[in-house]
Symmetry: C2
């Protein structure tokens, strides 16, 4: 934990601290951010929380979420700027250049380029929230029920409620401690997993009803057209996570979601159960991503885009697994 | 733990032990059963596992699942009969009467009538697996990776992957210990949550596409007709858990699934987010169940059955919550 001591020192000598996270913030980013904000305030710091994008509705139960400023313009002077759960440019806040001299970067993504002096990266952490838990411990701030709820939410969401392969014994022990400190598991579940918009469920139904798969069953896909959005009064955000339903099909190695973004344009989301590496595949389609989750945007008719993507996926499976029928031991999406 | 000592003693002095669980066994029942079987064998016991119903496909990854005998006829002599996760009559194995003198009953369901001399009931346990963990500890059997996988699966499935309100710090700490002892969380996830039959996903789509809700948004429902089963090549088992998708709709207090079982007959499944008690409601419809999960089977056309059930649900909500619009703080389904 050599990386932690200088971060503690920098925070201790700061009076005013800005805490920010990546665009389109998720449960880990927001839970980590708010836990740190609350803890730093207990230390008597003046803390500002600001992100480019607003807090999604399902995370507005997090204590302090209403005080996160939204937007690009930073105002005021800060002694330290803490960026969580992402490489700082991903906040979208530093158009004029990242202020490296006052920057603290805490992240668990192995892809973080670690280009700032005060970077703490722990790729073994299932969630940045696990690192904030350690930071708060070293700051000697007792964990109250509000901080506990934030950290529990971080870990709960970034492990997919402890389903993903990143789940460790450490994740679960910290979560257990957070329950003892006052976090209510059902409160988090109800907000995160039991608050689907009605239109979203209806859209999910219409999308899944049209699921298709390859002859060997190793690829399955769904299509969301602009027509479907209109019929269900739904928006692109409503398709969040849909591709994971497709991936959950038995025997499927790669799941694809085709989402129409214009008359002749489709955004594709790819998910692997862990045996097919999607990073190179997505690059060959002009996109990018990780081993188990990648994507791209392609121009063409649905028929053209499907042909190109499904062809590339089939080739990748044949190259990586052979043409035989096999069962996968997947990894985190 | 006064109830445990006599159970340990009874097991220690037994040579041949039968271990059984309830009909339609779930992950907690099977994980508990197999963990105990493996532990008792380490103690040199001759152990037979037998259930009325076969192991569902999604649980066949559990070590030892292939050796569970299936059927009603018990053969052989036993010094002890251990029934897990249910009141013994619910095994369906004891038509000639439960052999109380050799019976050990271990369960976490508060509804267990505790009518046998050697009954250990712990309604605070999220899963029977937590109790088996304690039993194995007191039997002084080290937990190997196979036992760990079984116990992890018990707790993982009965807490809905740590989502339900029954999740406790104890549940999570035992699960953490099981990971350390060799259980692979993703192996369990992939088998339990990432192995949906293709036909089941297609059916889910068709069912959710037809979701409806009441004007005030507090009741939502779906219908599965025999026609839908035929169109999707699906069976009633494929609708397992569908009602929980309906319940996950924001603002919904009670979710209903109508499943056609004959020309003029429908099985109804009711789920509450925790603020509406369904037990009395289901009784008034000729069925039964618990606070948050209940059901019944009703004769009539779909229109008649819907009218009766939705009328009763609306009345129950008005009686229990008033007619105002409110948000619920749910409990385990």
């Amino acid at each position: 934990m050599n990386e932690v001591a200088p971060i503690i020192a920098a925070l201790e000598r700061s009076v005013t601290v800005l805490v920010s996270v990546h665009k389109s913030p998720d449960g880990d980013a927001l839970g980590s951010q708010l836990a740190l904000v609350l803890a730093l305030e207990k230390k008597g710091k003046k803390v500002i929380a600001q992100n480019l994008d607003p807090v999604p509705e399902i995370y507005r139960f997090l204590p302090g979420s209403e005080r996160i400023k939204v937007g690009r313009a930073l105002s005021g002077r800060f002694d330290a700027i803490v960026v969580l759960d992402a490489d700082p440019p991903r906040t979208g806040l530093f158009d004029g250049g990242v202020p490296a001299d006052m920057l603290i970067n805490i992240d668990h993504h192995v892809t973080n380029p670690r280009q700032w002096p005060l970077t703490w990266l722990d790729a073994d952490a299932a969630a940045t929230g696990e690192m904030i838990h350690e930071l708060i411990r070293q700051l000697n701030v007792p964990i109250n029920p509000e901080i506990a709820l934030c950290l529990y939410t971080s870990i709960f969401t970034d492990t997919g409620s402890f389903r993903y392969a990143n789940t460790t014994a450490r994740s679960m022990r910290i979560a257990a401690d957070m329950i003892d400190a006052g976090a209510d598991p059902w409160l988090v579940t109800e907000n995160v997993y039991e608050s689907f918009a009605y239109r979203r469920l209806k859209l999910l139904g219409n999308v899944l009803a049209g699921i298709e798969k390859s002859e060997d069953g190793r690829v399955a896909w769904v299509v969301v057209t602009e027509e479907l959005f209109r019929q269900n009064g739904a928006t692109p955000e409503d398709t969040d996570n849909f591709v994971n339903f497709v991936r959950s099909t038995k025997g499927v190695e790669v799941a694809v979601l085709f989402r129409q973004t214009a008359d002749r344009q489709y955004k594709i989301s790819l998910r692997s159960k862990g045996r097919i590496d999607l990073a190179g595949l997505a690059q060959s389609l002009g996109g990018g991503g990780h081993k188990n989750a990648a994507g791209s945007t392609l121009d063409g008719t649905l028929g053209e885009v499907k042909k190109r993507v499904l062809g590339a996926v089939t080739e990748a499976i044949a190259a990586q697994l052979g043409t035989g029928q096999t069962a996968g031991h997947g990894r985190r999406p």
